[in-house]
């Protein structure tokens, strides 16, 4: 899969905003200080659209997802911002209110299906649990629905597999079970927290195709968190890039990955292997991720940036809109264009 086919699988969004996140901030209480895990993230997801959220480990992407669903670890709290699902702000809602929307409106898929599934509960029951709790299905109805879902996500021999336990499945199959669970109450949006990272490449491809077809056929929106750029290219229409708890770039997948407007994105693209472009060598990003307790002043990326200038060290860097529906946080984004021009060789 090349970048050129970006978003081809999932098709375009069909209008209307399902989820809008405004200036979300999440703080974590840690022994050595307060961690600013998510520091002012805003994004929008349209109906039927797949949005990628990329960044390295610790950039805050998983925390963002968990904040949206309200399943943050106990030390973490949303300290400001709004999360609007169909116009309703989720932040002030109580846990029991949130429970009513988890499942029917919004659900989540996790990275490690072995630890994300209850080891002592039969798989079929885990899938059926959602409809029983939220849609008021009887045991038999819910079982029927579970079988139907299992078929839809491509689990062979569902009648027999219904009564199996998670440890009896392979990694890819378990992930399909997770997807079935996520779909069980027909949500409007599914949050995906690196669901393919733990799988090997062939299985990864299958799962991505599955997700894409679901997106297309049922109009379910996706937020897909990953550190793996080609995956985003394969599945998503738009992408947001996170660094050090902040958003540094946002836009359509084609634009952001082929023509980045932020040095960090440029670095990511350069460090991902891609056979389309002839390069002398893979260029890793020098330095290490910033401390989230006391992040660098000004632009958080400045200590590692090849194009750093004086104002980068002091000036705040909010996302600014560029022509063509793109956003970047970089004060000197033109430098990326210049760098790319050198890059393309026949």
């Amino acid at each position: 899969m090349t970048i050129g086919d970006a978003g081809a699988l999932s098709g375009a969004g069909t209008g209307g905003t399902v989820l809008e996140v405004r200036d979300l901030r999440v703080r974590i209480a840690a022994r050595h200080g307060t961690v600013r895990a998510v520091d002012g993230v805003s994004l929008e997801v349209a109906r039927g659209e797949a949005v990628g959220l990329v960044g390295e480990s610790g950039s805050g992407k998983s925390m963002t997802l968990r904040a949206i669903l309200g399943v943050l670890p106990p030390e973490a709290k949303v300290t400001s911002g709004q999360i609007l699902l169909d116009g309703v702000d989720l932040v002030p809602l109580s846990n029991s209110d949130l429970n009513r929307i988890r499942g029917p409106k919004i659900s989540m898929i996790f990275q490690e299906p072995m630890s994300a599934l209850n080891p002592v509960m039969r798989v079929g029951y885990q899938i059926a649990e959602g409809p029983r709790v939220h849609l008021g299905y009887s045991k038999a109805q819910a079982a029927e629905r579970a079988l139907e879902l299992m078929r839809r996500v491509g689990i062979p021999d569902p009648e027999r597999r219904f009564r199996a336990y998670p440890h009896e499945f392979s990694g890819g199959m378990r992930q399909r079970v997770m997807i079935a669970i996520a779909l069980s109450c027909e949500p409007e949006i599914i949050l995906c927290d690196e669901p393919t990272t733990a799988l090997d490449v062939t299985i990864q491809d299958q799962i991505l195709r599955l997700l894409a077809s679901l997106c297309r056929e049922s109009g379910v929106s996706l937020i897909f968190v990953t550190h793996d750029l080609p995956v985003v290219a394969q599945l998503c229409q738009r992408v947001a890039v996170m660094y050090g708890g902040e958003l540094v770039e946002r836009g359509h997948v084609h634009d952001v990955l082929l023509d980045p407007r932020h040095p960090y994105t440029l670095g990511l693209v350069r460090s991902a292997p891609d056979v389309e472009y002839v390069r002398e060598s893979l260029v890793p990003i020098p330095g290490s991720p910033p401390s989230l307790v006391s992040p660098p002043s000004g632009c958080r990326f400045h200590p590692r940036c090849a194009f750093v200038e004086q104002d980068c060290r002091v000036q705040p860097t909010p996302l600014r809109e560029l022509p063509g529906g793109r956003y970047t946080a970089c004060l000197h984004y033109e430098r990326c264009e210049e760098a790319l021009a050198d890059r393309i060789r026949p």
Binding site: A29, R31, K77
Partner: protein
């Protein structure tokens, strides 16, 4: 720092701090336990000095007196000062309990090391032995053994030794099973060191801490067993003061002189509390984060 939400942030996950930071006296529970045990031991050791009365001589003209300035906790049914008897009883029982742990500890550690290190049929035999001993309830076996051997201190030591070694053996064995795969053991083996040397000098110092922690709770168990034996008249023969027999003697006077039965029990509870605190505190220092 920007403003943090007013409803506060919840308690944090415990982080592992380097050993130098976790001073034992900084842990309130452990410190309290050590202090308490210290007081108890001092009371036991100084017992004879703390009270002018003789714990054994009967004084039938002064039976069953209530607490007063002369007798802090009153007297018992044979006119003996209860406070004195508490001190002496504590002294005796504590001494026996502390001594009684030594043999099971040594035997259990040795057998457990052999079992864990060598494995194979040696391990199988020792573990079957463990299973057999464990098949009997602790109290049942101790009581039966004391019965068979005749009541008295010697029988108590023998009985506890025969029954108590198994827990140490198990603990040390599982620690060694893990530890012997470590690199430093491989290094010692390839250096041609004998098995005994490896076990004694290299493995044991690293694993014995778990046994010591267990030892704390074992002492508590032994005290309870000694006190139980005393209660049934199978322990130290009267008139030597013993907390268990004091509880037994006092129970008939529960309605009128509740202190005769209650106080000996409270003493045992306090001893148990202090030892448990110390055991837990040590466990926290050595393996932090485990509840």
């Amino acid at each position: 720092m920007s403003a943090i939400s007013a409803d506060g942030l919840m308690a944090v996950e415990r982080q592992v701090a380097p050993r130098s930071v976790r001073r034992w006296y900084r842990q309130p529970a452990l410190a309290f336990g050590v202090v308490l045990l210290g007081l108890i031991v001092i009371a036991a050791v100084l017992g004879p000095l703390l009270s002018p009365y003789n714990p054994i001589t009967q004084n039938l003209g002064q039976t069953l007196l209530g607490p007063s300035a002369h007798h802090l906790v009153g007297t018992d049914q044979l006119g003996r000062d209860t406070f004195t008897r508490l001190l002496y009883g504590l002294r005796n029982d504590l001494r026996i309990a502390f001594l009684a742990v030594v043999s099971p500890f040594c035997i259990g550690v040795v057998l457990g090391s052999i079992s864990g290190y060598f494995g194979g049929w040696v391990d199988a035999v020792i573990m079957r032995l463990v299973d057999i001993v464990v098949a009997f309830p602790f109290y049942v076996l101790v009581i039966a053994l004391v019965f068979v051997l005749g009541p008295g201190q010697r029988s108590i030591y023998i009985a506890i030794t025969l029954v108590g070694w198994v827990s140490y053996a198990r603990i040390i064995r599982s620690e060694i099973l893990v530890a012997k795969r470590q690199d430093y053991v491989l290094a010692a083996q390839s250096g041609g060191l004998s098995a005994v040397r490896i076990m004694a000098r290299h493995l044991l110092p690293n694993v014995v801490s778990q046994a010591i922690i267990y030892g704390m709770s074992d002492i508590v168990q032994d005290i309870l067993a000694i006190v139980a034996l005393g209660y049934f008249g199978l322990g130290i023969p009267p008139p030597t003061p013993d907390l268990g027999s004091m509880i037994n003697d006092g129970q008939n006077f529960m309605t009128t002189h509740w202190q005769l039965t209650t106080f000996p029990g409270l003493v045992v509870v306090l001893v148990g509390l202090s030892l448990s605190l110390i055991g837990d505190g040590l466990a926290d220092i050595i393996r932090p984060g485990q509840a």
